[in-house]
Symmetry: C2
Subunit: 76 residues, 2 copies
């Protein structure tokens, strides 16, 4: 089974990587981009017995820095 | 408007970050994880006139290394 976890910076948190991508896109001539934010996509392969509680605990303990990041869990 | 781009390593490509996360999860006592892969989620804020062709060109030119990475574009 597969679970996907999306980790993104909270609104208002400075995103230097996103800023760098935005500048690079403009440098390549892609206009019309108003903002770029970069996050992480973590894909877990696991057995059937991985509970929602375990997924949440993984995010809070390791996968996301909940001070500055949000996380979203997508099962199956 | 918002467009999301998911960049992931191609199957078979070694993923040291994913491996490190997997080890750390096991170290925290989360058993049953068979594999971990980490990718990028890039969120673009833009005007209505950003074409599919432009999105694809951004991925091929900058956002993904198409030798080792796949990308998926999710509009709107």
């Amino acid at each position: 089974m597969k679970t996907r976890i999306y980790v993104t910076l909270k609104p208002g948190v400075l995103d230097p990587q996103g800023r760098a991508i935005h500048n690079a896109l403009e440098g390549l001539g892609f206009d019309g981009i108003e903002g770029v934010r970069q996050g992480k996509l973590i894909e877990l392969e696991h057995g059937a017995d991985l509970s929602d509680e375990d997924c949440d605990a993984m995010c809070r303990k390791l996968l996301a820095n909940t001070v500055i990041e949000n996380y979203r869990i997508e099962r199956g």
